[in-house]
């Protein structure tokens, strides 16, 4: 530890370990947080539903951005695949939709493309390709592409779908035109997809097909003149279509929708949504929640090098209080915990991390939150702070969306 270069390397490594990206299944940094998240286990709950149900299931899954949803869904995928099921996972905003402006049609196209890609070896893709052929003429006009209709095969078809979703995602001008053009044909696309799925001979009683549409929770709310949001349009108005595919599906939904006045309607249509709550760091009376803090400490532990893991204090933090403060400040929100660590390391030349470094990291993060809050929301925040509850109105929902209000769950909830 005497060599300054070693110290520097250690800090570099630590800095890069605290990067706010989702963990892959099997990552040693993964920490089971069930006990402090109100005993929620996605792999258990969502997975069990898929495995046990004889009917197709359509489940909603929600949580704050950066609370670990993707990490959990990737675990679920691995678990189910391990049991011989087929899982189509996709992060919708990566290649298919624009979170700034997304509608139901975009999601359906995304599902189509990923199913086609995944099942192309096993299933007969003719129904989907036929459907696509029927659309090509119109698509050519909108997207100005050159395709020879006679030559459509699976590869060309896949490319074509990729082109469509890419245009929907990145070309605001074409987006609307494509939607308008495809909208009347969504029913036939669903039928084609179902025929395609049914063709797959590897699927059976034992092997089920599950689609996981991740990152739909990032869709930014747009409110129409009539007061309805695009969230409501997608998840409520289109719930029949969202449930029309003959496979199991898990949709991620914005947490603000789960806690809106539509909660009952969502429950009626999809069953009780699974929500990944934050890790509890304080009791409702303000006392520390030791279990939650321990989990957060474990999360930190698993991201630092093994030789320091056992002695976080004083090797990494100058005192137990500093570590405690950092965990409390995160509010049990893992992405902020990781951000805070990253910022604190940035402000540290020599280990251990000092109280001042954590304080400065906290100041920086507080500044970000302060700037996310609009003037009239301060009063609302004050009330939430006192009541520990929220009302189902737009202000509260936007505070949930901006993570200025976090949700916790008790075991007995």
């Amino acid at each position: 530890m005497a060599n300054p270069q070693d110290v520097e390397d250690l800090l570099d490594e630590m800095y890069n370990a605290f990067t706010p990206t989702p963990l892959q299944p099997g990552d040693p940094a993964y920490v089971d947080c069930r006990a402090v998240r109100g005993d929620e286990d996605v792999v258990e709950d969502l997975g069990r539903t898929v495995r046990r149900s004889n009917e197709f299931t359509y489940q909603l899954y929600s949580g704050y951005r950066g609370s670990g949803k993707t990490t959990e869904l990737l675990r679920l995928k691995k678990d189910l695949e391990g049991r011989g099921h087929v899982v189509v996972y996709f992060a919708a905003d990566e290649e298919d939709i624009s979170v700034q402006d997304a509608q139901y049609t975009d999601i359906l196209l995304a599902c189509t493309r990923h199913l086609l890609k995944k099942l192309k070896e096993e299933a007969n893709s003719a129904p989907i390709l036929d459907w696509l052929k029927g659309r090509l003429k119109d698509l050519k006009a909108v997207m100005l592409t050159e395709i020879n209709i006679d030559q459509i095969n699976l590869e060309v078809g896949l490319k074509e779908f990729a082109k469509i979703t890419a245009a929907v995602r990145t070309e605001p001008g074409q987006r609307q035109k494509i939607r308008e053009m495809l909208e009347p044909h969504t029913e036939t696309l669903i039928q084609a997809l179902n025929a395609f799925i049914a063709n797959d001979n590897q699927l059976s009683e034992k092997s089920k097909l599950l689609v996981i549409a991740d990152n739909l929770d990032r869709i930014v709310p747009i409110f129409r003149d009539n007061g309805r949001s695009n969230h409501e349009e997608i998840f409520l108005d289109r719930h029949e279509q969202l449930k029309a595919l003959k496979c199991h599906i898990i949709y991620t939904v914005p947490i603000s929708l789960i806690y809106s006045r539509w909660a009952t309607e969502l429950k009626d249509n999809y069953g009780i949504p699974q929500v990944l709550p934050s890790i509890m760091v304080r009791q409702i009376n303000g006392d520390f929640c030791e279990a939650g803090l321990d989990i957060l400490k474990t999360i930190i532990q698993l991201r630092v090098s093994s030789e320091m893991r056992e002695v976080l204090v004083p090797q990494v933090f100058e005192s137990e209080t500093v570590l405690q403060e950092l965990c409390l400040t995160s509010g049990g929100y893992v992405r902020d915990l990781v951000q805070l660590m990253q910022e604190a390391i940035t402000k540290t030349d020599v280990l251990p991390i000092s109280a001042r470094a954590v304080q400065r990291a906290t100041d920086a993060l507080r500044d970000v939150y302060r700037r996310a809050v609009e003037e009239p929301q301060w009063d609302v925040l004050r009330q939430v702070h006192q009541s520990k509850g929220i009302e189902n109105d737009d202000t509260h929902r936007s505070l949930l969306f901006s993570r200025c209000v976090l949700e916790y769950r008790y075991f007995d909830d």
Partner: protein, 771 residues
């Protein structure tokens, strides 16, 4: 770990990097610490990382210099963005492939890119509208580009992408692109030193409002954001400076028409410093612009409580009081300004305008003259002065003033129009038309000038051209005035049906325009549609109950309908309204007796015609008359004659009741007076006067003179049957029966009802004479 005393640490740092980091330009200990953090993070980052640095442009330069100097192993590449930066990734990749670099700094262009977006406007102020009202259609291309390319950046460009941007951009990212911002590897914030902050703040306040007005939207947003940035950095205790900056921000908003945002700023400014009299005044001005005068006045008064001699405040109070219609107080307020600064032109101007609107044009002109001494090139003042002069009837001077205005600004159509108005008023109609033509050359669709030009043409009797002019004005802007005047022109041409159509158009637009109803009434009357015309006049009278012209029109129509009593009532009403209007008296008298006048269709233009006794042998006038009615009429004619002793027809009429009241001498004199006034029969009524005088002379037992008068009457009007009867009677009385017989035969051929009886009498007399 103990925190080092700041001074020590500061000393150390200065020792360490004396050449770069002195206290120059407000670079300070805090800044140095933040810089160290940033450098550390950049040094440690492996792979792609996104860094946000909040700083101003000079700080950005320093940061980049420091990265170059202190991280020499990291190659730095600077990128500028522009509005269309949608190819950032491609550009970076290309450069990276040519020559790898590890730090990419984006310093300029990000703000500019955001200024134009709708939600930027939301972020520049303090209170926001509902967040959800924002339409996401307009996401800046850069953001969607970066969001889209996230994975490819990560996969192909293992660089640190550093945004060195103003606080506003950070706000934008936090509120508008939280996912993008969440993805950061670090956020660093450089603040301004206290001294610099003070200095920059000072430079930002009390800007020239005219200049603000001429800013483009983007420039304005930029300036507002600059101020907001300073406000956010200023210490909370420095409320005076914060107050000044908030006021300034408000002024900028106001210059861009963002009233609500401006008001919010002023109010915040006042909360920060309740003694900021300028902020109170700005609030007052804004409220005045919103016509919320009561509130505005409170603001002004608060301003003046703090600073009683604040000229701008006094001026604004004047304007607010004007808005409240407290003119005396307003004038006083302007006076206060002028005591402090006798050359406060805005006050002189406002005061003069106020005088003008109070009808005190003389005082207004004095004010305008004062301004013109200082600013002789202000055409606007010349124009107003011209109008004031026009209003007090100094028409020549008004024209001169307008000419002055036109010297300064030759192509001001409004002035040409106003100049035309003066000329029109003083009857220089051709010149008026020229002036309007000028106005119309400059602004072909100046409908007001087309209309007034029509008026001038109408006055010149150039009715067809007038109609064309009105058609133009109506083409541009169909208004009731144009339609009405067009109707008037058509009526002048006797095209009454078309006129009525035109009037009806006017009435569609404005059903209660007095002159339209009059014009329509007159046209209807001309067309003999008497009942309708009466209705039209009645509509006019609903609007203006005391207009003698309308009562006259109605009286005429009623008279033509044979409703003499009602017609007479109309003239009685006129006599009440306008006692000096002689016709009302004459007409009343006439109408009271018209039923007794000879002739089936008596008309106003002719005097009442005396009816002779049934038999030429009898010498007395009809005895069965309503004395009271005759006496009343006699008095009415006398009133008319008092108003105008040379009122021929009234003299002629006067003889009628005098005759029946057997005041033959009076009657005779009246006839004589009438004939003296118009010996040449220019008024075309002497045949009646001669006939009447003949009858009077018969009563005065002077058949010889009577015979002469009847003969004169028949020379003028060979078909006047009553004169034949009179002539016959005179001849009969003179014993010239044969001639009498001829005269009565003439009367008979003209179907006079008394002719046969008289012929019988003469026949008997002839028989007696012959036998």
């Amino acid at each position: 770990m103990a925190i080092q005393p700041l001074e020590d640490a500061f000393e150390q740092l200065n020792d360490q990097y004396p050449e770069v980091f002195g206290e120059l330009d407000g670079w300070n200990f805090d800044a140095e610490e933040v810089l160290s953090d940033l450098l550390r993070a950049l040094r440690r980052k492996k792979g792609f990382g996104l860094f946000f640095v909040q700083c101003n442009s000079s700080q950005a330069e320093r940061v980049m210099t420091s990265i170059r100097e202190r991280l020499p192993q990291k190659r730095l590449q600077q990128f500028d963005l522009n509005q269309q930066s949608e190819t950032l990734y491609e550009e970076m990749l290309e450069r990276y492939q040519q020559e790898p670099f590890s730090v990419a700094c984006i310093t300029t262009g990000v703000e500019q890119m955001l200024y134009g977006y709708e939600d930027t406007k939301r972020l520049v102020g303090w209170t926001s509208q509902e967040i959800y009202n924002y339409s996401w259609k307009g996401v800046p291309p850069l953001l969607s580009h970066l969001n889209r390319q996230r994975e490819v950046f990560e996969a192909n460009l293992p660089i640190a992408l550093v945004f060195l941007v103003h606080s506003f951009v950070i706000d934008y990212f936090i509120q508008r692109a939280p996912d993008f911002f969440d993805w950061r590897s670090g956020f660093f914030k450089f603040t301004e030193s206290a001294a610099n902050l003070q200095k920059f703040s000072q430079e930002l306040v009390d800007g020239d409002y005219q200049e603000y007005n001429s800013l483009t939207t983007d420039q304005r947003v930029e300036k507002i954001l600059e101020i907001k940035d300073k406000i956010l950095q200023l210490d909370l205790v420095d409320s005076e400076q914060r107050s000044s900056l908030l006021r300034e921000q408000g002024r900028l908003f106001q210059s861009g028409g963002e009233t609500n945002q401006a008001l919010d700023c002023y109010e915040r400014s006042i909360v920060e410093n309740p003694n900021n009299h300028k902020a109170w005044n700005n609030k007052g001005i804004l409220l005045r612009n919103l016509k919320r005068y009561e509130e505005a006045l409170r603001s002004c008064e608060r301003c003046l409580e703090i600073q009683s001699e604040y000229v701008d405040g006094l001026f604004n109070r004047g304007a607010v009081l004007t808005g409240l219609e407290c003119y005396t107080e307003a004038l006083e307020s302007y006076n206060c300004v002028l005591i402090i600064n006798p050359f406060h032109l805005n006050s002189i101007f406002a005061q003069s305008d106020l005088f003008a609107s109070l009808g005190r044009y003389g005082e207004a002109i004095i004010g305008y003259d004062k301004i013109l001494k200082i600013k002789p090139e202000d055409y606007y003042i010349w124009l107003r002065r011209g109008y004031a002069l026009f209003k007090i009837g100094r028409n020549e001077a008004a024209i001169e003033s307008y000419d002055k205005a036109l010297e300064v600004k030759h192509d001001d159509y409004f002035t040409w129009g106003k100049r035309g108005d003066v000329l029109l008023k003083i009857g220089r109609n051709e010149e008026a038309i020229e002036s309007y033509n000028k106005a119309l050359e400059i602004k072909h669709d100046y409908h007001f000038a087309w209309g007034k030009r029509g008026d001038a043409l109408l006055k010149l009797g150039r009715n067809e051209e007038a109609i064309e002019s009105y058609d133009k004005t109506l083409e541009i802007k169909p208004d009731y005035y144009g339609w009405t005047k067009r109707g008037d022109s058509l009526r002048s041409l006797g095209r009454n049906e078309e006129a009525i159509e035109s009037y009806d158009k006017a009435l569609e637009i404005k059903p209660d325009y007095f002159y339209t109803w009059i014009g329509k009434g007159d046209s209807l009357r001309s067309l003999g549609r008497k009942e309708e015309s009466v209705k039209s006049y009645d509509q006019a009278l609903k609007i203006t109950p005391d207009d003698p012209y309308v009562w006259t029109g109605k009286g005429f129509s009623l008279y033509e309908l044979g409703k003499h009593k009602e017609a007479s009532d109309c003239f009685a009403r006129i006599a009440e309204i306008l006692p000096i209007y002689k016709y009302s008296w004459n007409n009343q008298g006439y109408l009271n007796l018209a039923q007794d006048s000879y002739g089936l269709q008596p008309i106003f233009e002719k005097p009442l015609l005396i009816r002779q006794p049934p038999y030429c042998s009898s010498s007395t006038a009809n005895a069965d008359i309503n004395l009271e009615r005759y006496q009343k009429s006699l008095a009415l004619f006398e009133t008319a004659l008092q108003l105008d002793p040379e009122f021929t027809i009234a003299w002629a009429n006067h003889s009628f009741p005098a005759y029946y009241l057997q005041q033959y001498q009076t009657a005779l004199q009246s006839c004589n007076r009438a004939l003296e006034l118009d010996p040449e029969n220019q008024e075309d009524m002497n045949e009646v006067i001669y006939t009447n005088r003949g009858c009077i002379l018969l009563q005065l037992q002077n058949p010889t003179a009577a015979l002469q008068d009847f003969t004169s009457a028949l020379t003028l009007a060979p078909h006047l049957d009553e004169a034949y009867i009179g002539k016959g009677t005179a001849l009969f009385q003179l014993g010239r029966y044969s001639e009498a017989n001829d005269s009565f035969s003439q009367a008979l051929s003209l179907n006079h009802p008394l002719a046969q009886a008289n012929l019988d009498l003469v026949g008997q007399q002839l028989l007696e004479t012959n036998s």
